[in-house]
C-alpha cells in the first residue's frame, strides 16, 4: 500500500517527461539569452518588443495570462519596469514568479552597474534611475554575466537538465567570443571617437567600445530636447567633431535630423534590443551588437 501511495505521489508531483521551463522575460534581449541557455528545455515569451521603449510597455491583461503559468520571470530591474511590472505580477497571482519566489529573477543582481546615483536624487534630475543605469545588456561582458546567471538559476529549478544548460551557456560564450574577434577591427575604429547619444541607454556600449559620448539629445533623462539645449549641442558637436548621433527607433528623429543638418553629423538609428529594427534581421543578441558596432564604426571613421 505504501509503495502504491509513493508511486502515485511520484506520478502526480514529478515534472512530466519533456516538460519545459516556462519563462517570461521583460525584454527581447533577456528572452534571447534565456533561449540560448535554455535550448529545447525552455519556452520563452517576452513582454516588451525590441522596437518599443521598455520603460513604457503597457500592463495588458494578456501578459497576465502568460505570467500566470510561468515558472520564471526574468527582468532587467533597476526600476526599468517600474511602470508596469507590479501590475502584471499582482494580476498573475503566481507565487513562483512573485517577489521572493524561486522563479523571480532580477538580472541586475548579476551586473556591474554604472551610474549609481550619488548624493541627493530627485525628479528635478529628470527620469533618473536612482539604483543605476538599467540599459546594461549592451555590454557583451554583461551578456556573459546574464548567461551565467540563467545557467545557474535554470539548473536550480530544473536540475535534471543542468548539464544541458551548462553546455548551452558554453556555446553562447563561444559564439559571443567568435563575434568579438570579428568586430575587433571595428572597435579599434570606434575607440576614443566622439559621438552624441539621444538617451543615456548607450553608456554601457560606450564603456565597451571606448566611444566618447560628448552630449545627449535629452538635456536630462526623459526630457525632450529644448531649443536652447539643441543650440548648445550643435556647438559641442562642432567643437568635438562628433560624427554620429546614435538613437533608438522609438524616438522621433525630428530633433536629431535638425542637429545633423547643421553639423554634418549622421543620425544612426541603432538597435537597442533584439528585433528593434524591423527592416533588419537582428534576431539575436549577438546580431544586435554586431550591427550596432558595425554601424558606429562606419559612421565615425
Amino acid at each position: 500500500m505504501r509503495m502504491l501511495i509513493a508511486a502515485t505521489a511520484a506520478v502526480v508531483f514529478s515534472t512530466p517527461v519533456g516538460a519545459q521551463l516556462r519563462i517570461v522575460t521583460s525584454t527581447t534581449d533577456l528572452a534571447d539569452i534565456a533561449s540560448a541557455v535554455g535550448g529545447s528545455h525552455v519556452r520563452v515569451n517576452h513582454v516588451s518588443e525590441g522596437y518599443q521603449d521598455p520603460h513604457f510597455a503597457e500592463a495588458k491583461p494578456s501578459f497576465v495570462l502568460q505570467l500566470r503559468n510561468a515558472d520564471v520571470f526574468a527582468f532587467v530591474g533597476l526600476d526599468l519596469e517600474a511602470g508596469w511590472m507590479p501590475i502584471l505580477l499582482q494580476g498573475a497571482r503566481n507565487s513562483r514568479v512573485a517577489a521572493g519566489g524561486r522563479g523571480h529573477i532580477d538580472v541586475s543582481q548579476a551586473i556591474e552597474v554604472l551610474d549609481r546615483a550619488r548624493g541627493n536624487v530627485d525628479r528635478s534630475q529628470g527620469d533618473v534611475h536612482a539604483l543605476g543605469n538599467p540599459h546594461y545588456w549592451l555590454d557583451p561582458d554583461n551578456g556573459r554575466r546574464i548567461a551565467q546567471l540563467f545557467r545557474r538559476r535554470f539548473s536550480e529549478l530544473d536540475p535534471k537538465n543542468a548539464a544541458a544548460y551548462t553546455a548551452n551557456a558554453t556555446a553562447f560564450e563561444a559564439k559571443l567570443k567568435a563575434a568579438e574577434e570579428g568586430w575587433a577591427p571595428a572597435l579599434a575604429q570606434i575607440k576614443g571617437k566622439p559621438v552624441v547619444a539621444y538617451h543615456t541607454s548607450w553608456k554601457y556600449l560606450a564603456e565597451y567600445t571606448g566611444m566618447n559620448i560628448v552630449g545627449f539629445m535629452e538635456p536630462k533623462p526623459g526630457v525632450p530636447p529644448s531649443p536652447s539645449h539643441i543650440a548648445s549641442l550643435i556647438a559641442e558637436i562642432k567643437r568635438t567633431g562628433a560624427k554620429a548621433i546614435i538613437m533608438e527607433p522609438y524616438y522621433s528623429r525630428k530633433d536629431a535630423d535638425f542637429v545633423a543638418a547643421r553639423t554634418g553629423a549622421r543620425v544612426l538609428v541603432l538597435a537597442p534590443s533584439v528585433g528593434a529594427l524591423r527592416g533588419q534581421k537582428l534576431d539575436s543578441y549577438v546580431d544586435v551588437l554586431q550591427y550596432d558596432i558595425g554601424q558606429i564604426a562606419a559612421a565615425v571613421k
Binding site: E49, F56, V64, I87, S95, Y250
Partner: protein, 378 residues
C-alpha cells in the same frame, strides 16, 4: 610581523572591494512607499464657479498613499484624502492577499469594481470629473465600499477573463438627512453585493478591446413623501432595494514603436438603475428606473499633448428622471509622467422641466505626483 600586517591589509582590501560591490539594500528600514498626489482646480465658468464650495481656485484633494508589504501573505494600501470640503477622510484602506494561488482577496475599503471608470482615482480621470451617470448614480467622488473583494482570473475560452465579486457594508454612504427605522443592512441580505466580469482581447500588438458587465445590488434609504409620516417622528425614510446593471466597452490603440507619440482610446458605459417600489402611500422614493450613459474618446497629438471629448446622457434621479445631457472637450498637457494640466470646456444641458439654462463651464486642473506612485490598472 610585517608579513602578517601585509596579509591582513591585503585581506581587508579584498573584503572592502567585495563589500563595495554589494550595494546596500534600497530600503533597509522597511519604510512604506509614501506618495502624494495633488489635485488642484480652477473654475473660470463665465456665470460663476460651478464648484460645490463656489471657489474659483481650490485644492480639490491631496491624496496621501502609504503602501507596503505587511508580511509574506498580505500587502497593505492606505489612501487618505485631504480636502477643504471634507477635511481628512479615508479614501481607501485595504489588505490584499499575496500568497493565494489564482485568487486575490481584499479586506477593507476600496473603489467598487462596478463599471470601468469608477475604479479610476478621480485625479487620474482624463475628464476632470466622473461622467454624469457615475456622479448621479454613485456620487460625485464615485462609489467606494467597505467589505470583502475577491477576484479570479481565468481563460477557458482562450482570452483574459476576470470575475470580481464584492460584499460590502452598503451601497454608498448613508445620506445625512434620511433616517430609517432600522439600518438598511440590519439583515445580512441588506449588505450590498456586486459582480463584474471583465473580458479582454488583443486585436493586434497595437490594439485591444475590453467588454465587461457589472451588477450592484443592495438597499438604500428612500424618503417618505413630503408630509408623509413614518412610525415615529425621527423616521423619515424607508429601506428600499436598488440594483444597478452596467455594461462598458473600451478600445485602445497604441502602436508599439510610435507609442510615445501616438495613441487613441474610446470608451463607453451604460447603466440602468432599478429601484424597489413600495405600496406604502407615504413612500416618496422613485417609482421608476433610470438609465444613463456616456461616450468618451482621446487622441494623442504629440508626446506630451492630448485632445479628448465626452458626451453624457443621463436620466437624472435628482430631477425625477428628466434627461441631463452634456458635451465636453479637453486639452491635456503632460510636462512629465508626474504632472498634468487639463483645460476643459463643458456645456451642461439640464432637464427641460428644471427651468435652468444650459451651463457653460471652463475648468483648469493641475495634478502632480511625488514619491513612488504605483502604476494604475490597465
Amino acid at each position: 610581523m610585517k608579513q602578517i600586517i601585509a596579509v591582513a591589509l591585503l585581506l581587508g582590501g579584498i573584503a572592502t572591494a567585495v563589500n563595495a560591490q554589494q550595494p546596500a539594500p534600497a530600503n533597509a528600514r522597511m519604510l512604506p512607499d509614501i506618495s502624494v498626489v495633488g489635485d488642484l482646480l480652477g473654475d473660470f465658468s463665465p456665470k460663476g464657479s460651478t464648484q460645490e464650495d463656489r471657489t474659483r481656485f481650490g485644492i480639490r484633494e491631496i491624496e496621501l498613499a502609504l503602501q507596503a508589504a505587511v508580511d509574506p501573505y498580505f500587502r497593505g494600501d492606505v489612501f487618505l484624502g485631504f480636502s477643504d470640503a471634507e477635511g481628512v477622510h479615508i479614501e481607501q484602506a485595504f489588505l490584499t492577499t499575496t500568497a493565494l494561488p489564482a485568487v486575490e482577496a481584499r479586506l477593507g475599503r476600496f473603489l467598487m469594481p462596478v463599471g470601468k471608470t469608477n475604479t479610476t482615482h478621480r485625479h487620474d480621470l482624463h475628464t476632470i470629473e466622473y461622467p454624469w451617470v457615475v456622479q448621479r448614480f454613485f456620487g460625485a467622488e464615485g462609489l467606494k465600499g467597505t467589505g470583502v473583494y475577491v477576484s479570479r482570473v481565468f481563460a477557458p475560452l482562450g482570452f483574459y477573463q476576470e470575475l470580481q465579486l464584492t460584499a460590502v457594508d452598503r451601497i454608498g454612504e448613508a445620506p445625512e438627512e434620511l433616517f430609517t427605522e432600522e439600518p438598511v443592512n440590519q439583515d445580512l441580505s441588506g449588505l450590498a453585493f456586486s459582480a463584474r466580469l471583465r473580458n479582454y482581447w488583443d486585436l493586434s500588438s497595437a490594439a485591444n478591446v475590453e467588454i465587461s458587465g457589472s451588477v450592484l445590488t443592495g438597499k438604500v434609504e428612500q424618503p417618505y413623501a413630503f408630509g408623509g409620516a413614518g412610525p415615529s417622528p425621527e423616521v423619515n425614510a424607508v429601506s428600499a432595494g436598488q440594483t444597478i446593471l452596467g455594461g462598458d466597452a473600451t478600445f485602445r490603440w497604441r502602436p508599439l514603436q510610435e507609442g510615445l507619440y501616438r495613441s487613441f482610446i474610446a470608451q463607453a458605459e451604460i447603466y440602468r438603475q432599478t429601484n424597489g417600489r413600495s405600496d406604502d402611500a407615504a413612500f416618496g422614493g422613485p417609482n421608476r428606473d433610470f438609465t444613463g450613459a456616456y461616450g468618451f474618446a482621446r487622441w494623442q497629438l504629440t508626446r506630451r499633448t492630448y485632445v479628448a471629448g465626452r458626451y453624457d446622457w443621463t436620466q437624472d434621479p435628482e430631477l425625477g428622471g428628466e434627461t441631463l445631457t452634456a458635451a465636453s472637450g479637453y486639452i491635456q498637457w503632460y510636462p512629465s509622467e508626474f504632472s498634468k494640466l487639463t483645460l476643459a470646456f463643458e456645456r451642461v444641458m439640464p432637464a427641460r422641466i428644471a427651468a435652468v439654462d444650459a451651463t457653460n463651464r471652463l475648468l483648469l486642473q493641475a495634478t502632480f505626483a511625488i514619491g513612488p506612485h504605483k502604476p494604475h490598472p490597465f
